[in-house]
């Protein structure tokens, strides 16, 4: 199970990096969103100790509940940031008249 998770995390990470590298504003935002979800998946892998739901009193090794609280918080934050990123890129596209990052020439180094 954990090795499967590792595989998925690896693939998603690759997809995210590919999307961010690609110079399209919206694709960058999507890539960043995938990136933050990949990290959440990694947190799940950290807390994964066995296939038992985390409830006090069960025998065996339940999954770590704290990690799930962390992920929930991270999801909420990621949601807010992604929403802002979408609004910002919308304004940027309207201002520049292009979705390609290469068209943004005002800032150099």
């Amino acid at each position: 199970m954990v090795s499967f998770l590792a595989l998925v995390i690896g693939i998603l990470f690759g997809v995210a990096v590919w999307a961010i590298r690609h110079g399209n504003t919206l694709r960058i935002v999507i890539g960043l969103s995938i990136l933050s979800n990949t990290v959440n998946l990694m947190l799940i892998a950290v807390g994964f100790k066995g296939e038992i739901a985390p409830i006090i009193g069960l025998e065996g090794a339940p999954a770590d509940p704290l990690v799930q609280a962390l992920i929930l918080t991270a999801i909420v934050i990621g949601f807010g940031v992604t929403a802002f990123a979408l609004v910002l890129s919308y304004a940027l596209i309207k201002e520049e008249g292009s979705t390609e990052v290469d068209a943004f020439r005002r800032l150099r180094g």
Binding site: L72, V76, F79, G80, A83, L86, V87, L88, Y90, A91
Partner: protein, 138 residues
């Protein structure tokens, strides 16, 4: 057509379920954020299927006010324990007996969750309208 029928059927169920999530939040799976996201998604569906004019002719609420009042409620329930001499954010359990209904318990965490719910619904809808209506930023 299909989308309209399904939306009509689904919206009340979704809102009811989100309210269940909201009230269950303090000691079962659920909570303000999940419930708020769900309610907001119902509104998003309405916007998508019926269009902006239809939705805004029925709900005249200013979403920003909704979010702000949610913030106020959240702050109130976060600070209330201070007055009672407990640390910030503590959940205080009120329990009392009602005739016929028996013992009722109310946790201040529910109030906090309700505030979060309003904040989430309000801010998601504000953002939706921002990006859909093309209002200016900043």
């Amino acid at each position: 057509m299909v989308a309209r029928v399904i939306t009509n059927a689904v919206r009340y169920i979704c809102i009811l379920f989100s309210l269940t999530l909201l009230l269950a939040g303090h000691n079962e799976p659920g909570g303000g954020f999940v419930a708020g996201a769900m309610t907001a998604s119902v509104f998003a569906l309405l916007y998508l299927v019926f269009g902006k004019d239809y939705v805004e002719s029925r709900f005249q609420t200013d979403y920003r006010t909704l979010a702000v009042s949610g913030f106020l409620i959240t702050i109130f329930f976060a600070l209330m324990p201070l007055v009672l001499g407990e640390p910030v954010l503590s959940s205080i359990l009120f329990s009392f007996d009602l005739p016929q209904l028996g013992r009722v318990e109310l946790a201040s965490a529910v109030g906090f969750d309700f505030g979060i719910y309003l904040v989430v619904v309000g801010s998601i809808l504000t953002i939706l309208r921002w990006s859909a209506g093309g209002e200016e930023l900043g």
